[in-house]
C-alpha cells in the first residue's frame, strides 16, 4: 500500500472523527446501555436486578411468556394490516389526484394532508371518541348496518381502532410519495402507449404501476416501522390484551421499574425491525427485477 494513500486515508478518518464520536454518543451509546441491561447488567436500573449478571434469564423469561410473544406477534400483524390498507387507499388517492381534474381538487389535496399536522396522541384520542359507542362514526356504521349491536371498535382484541387511526395517520405519507413518483414518470411513455392504442387501464398496468412501485414500496417500509414501534395510538386504542410491545415495555419500565425485561423487549424490537427491513428489501428488490 503506498504511503501517500495511507496518509490520505488517515486524514479522512481524522476529519471524520468528530462526527463519528457525535453519532456514537447520541445513538450508539444509549443502545449499548439497553443491550447490556437486557443481560441484567445494571446500566439503566441503577442497582442490579439479579445476582450474578450477565445472564440470559430475561431472554428466557421473554421466550417463555405468552404476554411478550403475543405482543410481538400482535404488533407485527396489526401494523402490517394497517400498512396494506394505507398503501391501497393512499395509492388510489394519488392516482385520482394525478390523473383526473375535477372541481374541488385543490381542496381535496389540502384536506388529505391534514393528518400530517395532527400529533399521534391527538389522533388516537380523536378516533377513540369517534369509534366508541355513541361516537359519530360508530353510530353511522351502525345505522348503515356495517356493525351490529355491541360491536367493539376500540380497545378490542383485534386492534381495529389501532388500524383505523394508524391508517388515517399514514395515508398522506403514502399519497405524497406515490404522487411524487407518478409525476416522475416520463409523459412521452404514456403518450407513446396512447398513440399505439393502449387504453387507460393498460397504461396504468404497464407504465404507471411498475414505474412507481419502488417509491410505494419504500414508503411501505418506512410507515411499517413507524407503526410497529409506535406507542400512543396503540396505548389509547389498544385492548388490555393483546397489546403492542411498546405498551408492555411502558408497563414494565415506567410502572414496575423492571428495566431488564423492558430492555430485552427493546432489543428484540430492534432486531425484528432490522430483520423485517432486511427481508423486505430483499423481497422487494427481487420483485422489482421481475417487473
Amino acid at each position: 500500500m503506498p504511503a501517500v494513500a495511507l496518509k490520505g486515508r488517515l486524514t479522512i478518518v481524522l476529519f471524520l472523527m468528530p462526527i463519528t464520536l457525535f453519532y456514537a454518543l447520541v445513538w450508539l451509546y444509549p443502545l449499548i446501555l439497553v443491550f447490556l441491561q437486557s443481560f441484567g447488567v445494571p446500566t439503566l436500573s441503577g442497582k442490579p436486578e439479579v445476582e450474578g449478571y450477565p445472564t440470559t434469564e430475561f431472554y428466557r423469561e421473554f421466550a417463555s411468556s405468552p404476554r411478550y410473544l403475543t405482543a410481538l406477534w400482535f404488533s407485527f400483524w396489526n401494523s402490517l394490516v394497517a400498512v396494506l390498507v394505507s398503501i391501497l387507499v393512499g395509492y388510489l388517492l394519488a392516482l385520482v389526484l394525478f390523473l383526473y381534474d375535477f372541481r374541488g381538487k385543490r381542496f381535496i389535496s389540502v384536506l388529505y394532508k391534514l393528518p400530517l399536522f395532527v400529533p399521534y396522541l391527538v389522533a388516537a384520542f380523536m378516533w377513540w371518541v369517534l369509534l366508541v359507542p355513541k361516537g359519530y362514526v360508530y353510530e353511522f356504521l351502525k345505522a348503515l348496518g356495517v356493525i351490529g349491536q355491541g360491536a367493539q371498535l376500540v380497545n378490542d382484541p383485534l386492534g381495529i381502532g389501532i388500524i383505523v387511526a394508524n391508517t388515517w395517520m399514514h395515508i398522506p405519507f403514502v399519497a405524497l410519495v406515490s404522487l411524487g413518483s407518478l409525476k416522475l414518470v416520463d409523459p412521452s411513455l404514456v403518450e407513446a402507449a396512447r398513440v399505439l392504442g393502449a387504453d387507460m387501464r393498460r397504461v396504468l398496468r404497464h407504465i404507471y404501476i411498475p414505474l412507481t412501485l419502488p417509491g410505494i414500496l419504500a414508503s411501505l417500509q418506512l410507515i411499517f416501522l413507524s407503526m410497529f414501534g409506535g406507542f400512543s395510538v396503540a396505548y389509547i386504542l389498544g385492548a388490555s390484551f393483546p397489546t403492542y410491545m411498546s405498551v408492555t415495555i411502558y408497563e414494565d419500565v415506567v410502572q414496575r421499574y423492571l428495566w431488564s425485561i423492558g430492555s430485552v423487549q427493546a432489543v428484540i424490537y430492534l432486531i425484528s425491525a432490522l430483520v423485517i427491513t432486511y427481508t423486505y428489501s430483499k423481497i422487494s428488490r427481487k420483485g422489482l427485477r421481475r417487473i
Binding site: 479522512i12 450508539l28 442497582k47 405468552p66 380497545n155 378490542d156 389509547i236
Partner: protein, 447 residues
C-alpha cells in the same frame, strides 16, 4: 475498498467510545458506593484526599441532622430564608400545574423564598436523581420531589432519599389525618421521609336515572347487580388507570379480608397462593373477575384509563363504575357530565383509600431547609383547604380542614363524608396491588 475500511474504523470507534462511556459511568457509580461505605465507618477512610473531603462532609451532614432535631421551627425557617430558593419538581395534568404554580407564588409572598416549580412527571424526576447518583453529583437540582408510593419505594431502594425523617420536624405533620402515614404510604415503609400531600379517593359513581338509589350494590351484591343489568358496569384497565387498580385491590380485600394483607410481607408465591384460593363467596379472585366480566360492558373490553371510563359513564354507556373523585370533579367543572344525575358512594366493606401522593427531599437537595419549609406549607390547613375547595375531588391530609369546608362545596364535588372513609381506612398494599395488576393481564384480560 476505501469506504469499507472507513466504515470498519468508524464502527470500531463507535463501539470503543460506547464502552468507554459506559465504564466511565460505571466508575462513577463505584466511587459513590465507596464514599457511602466510608461515611459509615469514619475511621477506615484515612487514605486519599478525596476520602477525607467526603468524611468531613458526612460529619457535617450527621452533625447537621442531629442538630436539626434540636432546632426550633423558627430557626429552620430562618435557615430556609438564608437559602433563599427551593426547586419543586411536580407532576400532573395542566390544571395541576396551574394550581401548583399559584401555590408556589403564595409561598413566595409569605416566606420570601423563591420557588422554582418544574412540571414534569414522577418517572423523569426519579430518573434524574438516579443519574445524579450514578454520576456522583452530591449537589443536585431537586429540593422537593412530588411522587407517589411506588416511585418513592424505588427512590428508597436506590438510595435517592435524604436520610432524615423530616416528618419529625414539620409542625404541620403532627396533624396528619392518620399517624400511620408517617411510617407507611400504600404500605410502603417510608420511615418519616415521605410526606403525604393529597388524598385521592376512588368511589363508585352511578347514574341516578337508571340506578335505584335505595338499592345500591356493595361488593357482596355487585355480581348480582351486574347480572340484573348486563353491560352496565365497567372498570378501567388496572394497568392504565388508577381507578382500575384501586378497585382491584379493594376486590382482593373484600374477598380475602384486609387483615391478610395489612402490613404483611409480600412474596409472589404468597400472592399466587391467595389469589388462586377461594375467597369469601367461594370463588378465587380470578374466577370472580372472569365471572364479573361476562356481565360487564362489552365483555373483555376494558377502558384504557380513567378518562376513557369516565367518558363511557358520561355517554350513559355504563351506569356504574369505580372512579376517582377528582376525575369526576374535573368532568363536572368542564360540564361534560350532568352533576344532578351523578351519585357517589363507597360500597361496603369499602374501597381502599389513596393514594396519598406526597413529597420527599432527595439526598443531594441543595436547599434542604427551604424544602422542609415548603413541604410544611403544602400540608398546612390553608393550602389543604384550597386543595379541597378549588382543585376539587380531593380530601385533606391534615386534620381540622374538612370541618371548615362549606357543605355546598362538598356536594358540588360529590364528596362522601370523610368520617365514613376514615372509619374503614383500608390502605392499599402497593406490592400486592402491583402484582395483581400484572397477573390480571394474564388471568383476566387474556381469558
Amino acid at each position: 475498498m476505501n469506504t469499507t475500511t472507513l466504515a470498519i474504523v468508524a464502527v470500531i470507534l463507535i463501539i470503543v467510545a460506547g464502552a468507554a462511556g459506559y465504564f466511565a459511568g460505571k466508575g462513577a457509580t463505584q466511587t459513590v458506593t465507596t464514599t457511602v461505605t466510608t461515611t459509615q465507618t469514619v475511621t477506615q477512610t484515612a487514605a486519599g484526599a478525596g476520602g477525607t473531603v467526603t468524611v468531613t462532609q458526612t460529619v457535617t451532614q450527621q452533625a447537621e441532622q442531629a442538630m436539626l432535631i434540636g432546632m426550633s421551627w423558627d430557626q429552620i425557617v430562618q435557615k430556609a430564608k438564608e437559602e433563599g430558593e427551593v426547586n419543586w419538581y411536580g407532576y400532573g395534568a395542566e390544571w395541576d400545574r396551574l394550581f401548583y404554580q399559584k401555590l408556589a407564588q403564595e409561598f413566595e409572598k409569605e416566606y420570601g423564598i423563591k420557588v422554582n416549580y418544574v412540571h414534569g412527571d414522577w418517572f423523569s424526576t426519579i430518573e434524574k436523581l438516579k443519574a445524579d447518583k450514578q454520576a456522583g453529583k452530591e449537589v443536585g437540582e431537586v429540593d422537593v420531589a412530588f411522587v407517589w408510593s411506588v416511585p418513592f419505594k424505588e427512590a428508597m431502594d436506590q438510595g435517592l432519599v435524604w436520610d432524615f425523617p423530616v416528618v419529625l420536624v414539620l409542625p404541620n405533620a403532627k396533624k396528619l389525618i392518620d399517624p400511620s402515614l408517617m411510617l407507611y404510604n400504600d404500605m410502603v415503609p417510608v420511615a418519616g421521609k415521605f410526606v403525604p400531600f393529597v388524598w385521592w379517593q376512588v368511589v363508585f359513581i352511578y347514574n341516578k336515572k337508571y340506578v335505584d338509589e335505595n338499592n345500591l350494590p356493595n361488593f357482596d351484591t355487585l355480581l348480582d347487580w351486574a347480572k340484573a343489568n348486563p353491560g352496565k358496569f365497567t372498570y378501567s384497565d388496572p394497568n392504565k388507570g388508577g381507578s382500575g387498580h384501586t378497585f382491584l385491590i379493594s376486590v382482593i380485600y373484600w374477598l380475602y379480608g384486609y387483615d391478610k394483607f395489612a402490613f404483611k410481607p409480600f412474596s409472589e408465591e404468597r400472592a399466587d397462593k391467595i389469589f388462586n384460593s377461594p375467597g369469601k363467596n367461594g370463588m378465587s379472585l380470578w374466577e370472580y373477575l372472569n365471572e364479573l366480566e361476562k356481565y360487564m360492558y362489552q365483555p373483555g373490553n376494558y377502558p384504557a384509563g380513567n378518562a376513557a371510563a369516565m367518558e363511557l359513564f358520561a355517554r350513559e354507556e355504563v351506569w356504574l363504575e369505580p372512579q376517582w373523585l377528582d376525575v369526576l370533579a374535573e368532568w363536572i367543572k368542564e360540564g361534560r357530565v350532568n352533576p344532578d344525575e351523578v351519585g357517589t358512594y363507597d360500597p361496603d366493606p369499602g374501597i381502599a383509600v389513596g393514594g396519598f401522593d406526597g413529597m420527599f427531599i432527595p439526598w443531594n437537595a441543595p436547599n434542604k431547609f427551604a424544602a422542609m419549609v415548603l413541604i410544611n406549607y403544602l400540608i398546612s390547613e390553608e393550602v389543604q383547604y384550597k386543595l379541597v375547595t378549588e382543585r376539587g375531588g380531593i380530601y385533606p391530609v391534615v386534620q381540622g380542614v374538612w370541618e371548615k369546608v362549606p357543605d355546598e362545596i362538598k356536594q358540588k364535588w360529590k364528596m362522601l363524608p370523610i368520617e365514613e372513609l376514615e372509619e374503614k381506612f383500608l390502605q392499599r398494599h402497593a406490592e400486592y396491588m402491583f402484582y395483581a395488576m400484572k397477573k390480571w393481564t394474564d388471568e383476566v384480560a387474556r381469558k
